[in-house]
C-alpha cells in the first residue's frame, strides 16, 4: 500500500481559496509534498521543472484550462505518466468524457468531501496509508 506522504502532488486551481481547501483536504489524508499553481500554464512549467506523482486540477482556468493541461502533460514524455485527477462541476459530463479520451486517471465532482477525494485518489494509487 502506498504512503500518501511519499506521493508528491501539484494542485492547480485559479482560486486561492479552492487551492487552500484542496491542500487542507490532502493534508488530512496524509499528503505532505504539496505544491500549487494558479493555472495550467504555470502548472506545466512547474511539472517540467520538477515532476510530481499526482496532479489535481480544476477545469475552468485562465491561460490554459485543465483539459489543455492534461493534453500537454500526456504529450511531454518526461511527465506523461503523471497521475491526473480532474476537478469538475456537477454538469460537466461532457468534460469528463473528453478528459477520459485524453487520458485522465479519475475525476472528482465539486463540492467534494475529504473522504470523496481520498476515494478518487485511492482508485488511482490503491489504498493509501
Amino acid at each position: 500500500m502506498p504512503q500518501a506522504s511519499s506521493i508528491s502532488v501539484l494542485v492547480v486551481d485559479d482560486q486561492l481559496t479552492m487551492r487552500a481547501l484542496i491542500r487542507n483536504a490532502l493534508q488530512q489524508i496524509g499528503f505532505k509534498d504539496i505544491r500549487e499553481a494558479p493555472d495550467g500554464e504555470e502548472a506545466l512549467k512547474n511539472l517540467l521543472a520538477k515532476p510530481a506523482n499526482l496532479v489535481i486540477s480544476d477545469f475552468n482556468m485562465p491561460k490554459m484550462d485543465g483539459l489543455a493541461l492534461l493534453r500537454a502533460v500526456r504529450s511531454h514524455p518526461p511527465i506523461r505518466q503523471t497521475a491526473f485527477v480532474m476537478l469538475t462541476g456537477r454538469a460537466d459530463r461532457e468534460l469528463v468524457q473528453r478528459a477520459v479520451q485524453f487520458g485522465v486517471n479519475n475525476y472528482c465532482v465539486k463540492p467534494f468531501t475529504v473522504q470523496g477525494l481520498r476515494e478518487k485518489i485511492e482508485q488511482v494509487f490503491g489504498q493509501l496509508t
Binding site: N60, V96, C108, V109, K110, F112, T113
Partner: protein
C-alpha cells in the same frame, strides 16, 4: 426631469429570480436579478468595464464557515460557479467588484448561521482579491434585493420576518455530497 432607463421601466425589465443554490450571469441591461434573503447570502459580482454581472444565493450546509471543512468547500464552490460564469461572459478577474447581502439572524438561537455565512463571503472575497464595494449583512430582518448587473445598482428592502416567504424564514441547508461524489460512471 428624471430620465428613466429601460431597465428601470417595469414594463421593459426582464426579472430573473435567483433562488437558493442558484446563480445567474448576464450582460443584458434589461435584466434585473431579484432574490429574497434570510440567513442566506447573495453575492452580486460584476465587471464594470465588460458590463457583465451576476448574482448567486447560497447557504452554507453547516453553521461554521471557518476553516477547511465541508461547509467552506460548498460555499467556495457556489462562489466559483458565479465567478467562472462571469469570466466565460468576458469579465476579467482583476476588474471584478462585489456587493453582498443577507446573513440575517431571524430567530433567537445558539448559533448565528447568518453571521457565519456573511463571514465566509467576506473572507472568500478578500482572499480572492475581489473588493466589496458595498454590503448589507446581519440584522434581524429578511431582505428583498434587486440587482441590475450591468450598472451595478442595487435596491434593497427590509422585510419583517413574519412577512418573509416560508423558505426564507426556514431555509433548508443543501445536503453535502456523499463521500463518493462522482455522478458520471466511467471508471
Amino acid at each position: 426631469m428624471t430620465q428613466i432607463s429601460h431597465n428601470d421601466d417595469p414594463e421593459r425589465a426582464i426579472k430573473v429570480h435567483v433562488t437558493q443554490g442558484e446563480s445567474h450571469v448576464t450582460a443584458d441591461p434589461q435584466v434585473v436579478m431579484t432574490t429574497v434573503l434570510g440567513s442566506c447570502i447573495a453575492a452580486c459580482i460584476r465587471d464594470p468595464h465588460a458590463g457583465v454581472g451576476g448574482m448567486n444565493h447560497f447557504l452554507l450546509p453547516e453553521g461554521d464557515g471557518r476553516g477547511g471543512g465541508d461547509a467552506v468547500r460548498y460555499g467556495a464552490y457556489a462562489m466559483e460557479l458565479l465567478i467562472n460564469d462571469l469570466l466565460k461572459k468576458g469579465a476579467r478577474r482583476e476588474r471584478l467588484e462585489a456587493k453582498i447581502f443577507g446573513g440575517a439572524k431571524l430567530f433567537d438561537g445558539l448559533s448565528d448561521v447568518g453571521a457565519s455565512n456573511s463571514a465566509f463571503a467576506e473572507r472568500f472575497l478578500r482572499d480572492e482579491g475581489i473588493p466589496i464595494v458595498s454590503s448589507s449583512t446581519g440584522g434581524v430582518s429578511a431582505r428583498r434585493v434587486e440587482f441590475w448587473p450591468t450598472s451595478g445598482r442595487v435596491r434593497q428592502r427590509l422585510v419583517a420576518v413574519d412577512n418573509a416567504p416560508q423558505d426564507v424564514r426556514r431555509p433548508t441547508p443543501p445536503p453535502m455530497p456523499a463521500a463518493s461524489s462522482g455522478d458520471v460512471d466511467l471508471f
